[in-house]
């Protein structure tokens, strides 16, 4: 055998830096090939990308709504007040004495007194039944103490304790947590958050399956090519590479599509939400995805695309052997 022929094994002679350069070059070629695969067949690939984007948009959209719901309820939570409806026959002096007593209670920030007259005047003005009320002999409305707990005493347990304490006063007819329903909403939101996480996991799995199946079809379409490159000595890693890139591109495009879908939806919802918030004298606005969250969303999408194709391609190229 001549010395020239032995150079068939001359690979070891090439320097490491030259090999690394070639590897990065190969990656560029394969990345481009994976991208072309998507571009040359835009329709069916767009469908796949859209399906993945929708699967991602559902849990992330829900997450956005929950985040907004939480900020909304925590805003109100800080303002949660306790109303003490007192007995109607209570004299005004005793009313103020009681107000002072309540004011001394631990955990109370301030107490507003609403006398029977004030309550009636307010009701007349707001209800529009002024004429009807004028017909009444006696004022049916009770005097009210509006208790604003300190910020440290707004948790459900602390509020319950305060409420129980106020109920011990004989003058108190009814003690009510004004924003009880906000707490219920909060609990509901926590439940919904769990459900959203479960949905997110299920849909992430669905994305893996969609990408995996698409890559499986792609592997089968390129069966002949895979046989040929195996025959000329390609390793599994070499064969896997373009498919991994295809998966990655699917993830990237789906992530961007999902981001667009979410932002369009938020834009679409922002007007009615502003109107609704206006009815409650609130400046509330839906908060969309922050920059970091957008990057996270796209990164997760890319990761899922890559993982889906990884799980699929290894198994399927193993099955293809040249014959």
């Amino acid at each position: 055998m001549s010395s020239e022929q032995l150079s068939g094994a001359s690979l070891s002679q090439t320097t490491i830096s030259a090999r690394l350069k070639m590897l990065s070059r190969l990656h560029k070629i394969e990345a481009k090939r994976g991208l072309m695969e998507i571009i040359v067949n835009p329709f069916s690939n767009f469908m796949t990308i859209l399906v993945i984007a929708i699967a991602l948009a559902l849990p992330s959209g829900l997450q956005i709504l929950l985040e907004n719901g939480k900020t909304l309820s925590s805003n109100w939570d800080g303002a949660s007040r306790i109303s003490l409806y007192l007995k109607t026959e209570l004299k005004e002096t005793k009313l103020h004495a009681l107000a002072n007593l309540v004011r001394e209670t631990k955990g109370v920030e301030k107490v507003d007194v609403i006398t029977q007259e004030e309550a009636l005047a307010d009701f007349k003005e707001r209800s529009g039944f002024a004429d009807a009320i004028a017909q009444l002999d006696a004022n049916p409305l009770p005097p009210v103490l509006v208790v604003q707990p300190k910020a440290t005493h707004t948790s459900p347990q602390a509020s319950e304790l305060l409420l129980a304490e106020f109920k011990t006063h004989p003058e108190v007819e009814l003690a009510q947590l004004d924003l009880d329903w906000v707490r219920k909403l909060y609990a509901l939101l926590q439940l919904a958050e769990k459900a959203a996480s479960a949905l997110g996991l299920a849909l992430a799995l669905a994305v893996l399956l969609i990408v995996g199946n698409t890559i499986r079809l792609s592997v089968q379409n390129r069966r002949e090519e895979i046989e040929v490159v195996k025959l000329v000595g390609a390793t599994d890693a070499f064969i896997r590479r373009p498919f991994l890139y295809t998966g990655f591109w699917y993830g990237l495009f789906a992530g961007i599509t999902c981001w667009l879908l979410l932002n369009i939806s938020i834009l679409w919802l922002s007007d009615p939400v502003a109107k609704l918030a206006g009815l409650y004298q609130s400046q509330f606005e839906i908060a969309g995805l922050s920059f970091i969250q957008s990057i996270q969303l796209i990164a997760i999408s890319c990761g899922l695309g890559l993982l889906g194709s990884w799980l699929s391609v290894g198994r399927h190229i193993r099955l293809i052997e040249p014959h």
Partner: protein, 248 residues
Amino acid sequence: MIEFSDVSKRYPNGQDALRNVSFEIADGEMAFLTGHSGAGKSTMLKLICLMERATSGQVVVNNKNLNRTSRRKIPGVRRNIGMIFQDHRLLFDRSVFDNVALPLMIAGYPHREIGRRVRAALDKVGLLSKEKHSPIMLSGGEQQRVGIARAVVNKPPLLLADEPTGNLDPKLSGEIMHLFEQFNQVGVSLLIASHDLSLIAQMHYRTLVMKEGRLVEDQADAPEPDDSIGLDSYNEQSDHTKSGDHYE
């Protein structure tokens, strides 16, 4: 270069493709492998490039015992073997250049080295002017020469050819054989499976004759075409043996 010791191959369906075959091909030797369809020629080539594994016996190629080669080591074995197929097995979505460059890309050669070697290989087979063409634009003979360029581009010490002239007319076949001789002259070992006996007879190289999975003759020179397994008898029998073609 190639050493078969008492090698048998039985396919999962029970067909015995090779029965106790032993032979040796030295470094730098060129040999033909002939026999009817289904005689075991292709199976022998498949064992050498690890497309199949021997059921018993030992196959040693390039001083490597293939019985002990793990799945992960198969690419390394194949990189030292140039393979040429009857149906060329080119990738039609890539240019002639890219087809020939494939083994070098896989082995991670530097870019400049790839260009140099691919052009040298294409020049050798006389297709340098067509490097940018798609293989689909080439004639059958030209496609086969692209396949040959791809097989020799990384200068493997061993070339295997499975019916390389199967679809070509005698003149083109002669040209291909002449190319093989040139490779052999610079030290490449070649094993060429072919049933084109008249062509083999002209070449005067060692010829291994297979029959029903056994090595029945090992001649230092090619048998004459009017031999017992001549073309006429091949044509008569080919219809009966066609069914076993893919196990060949």
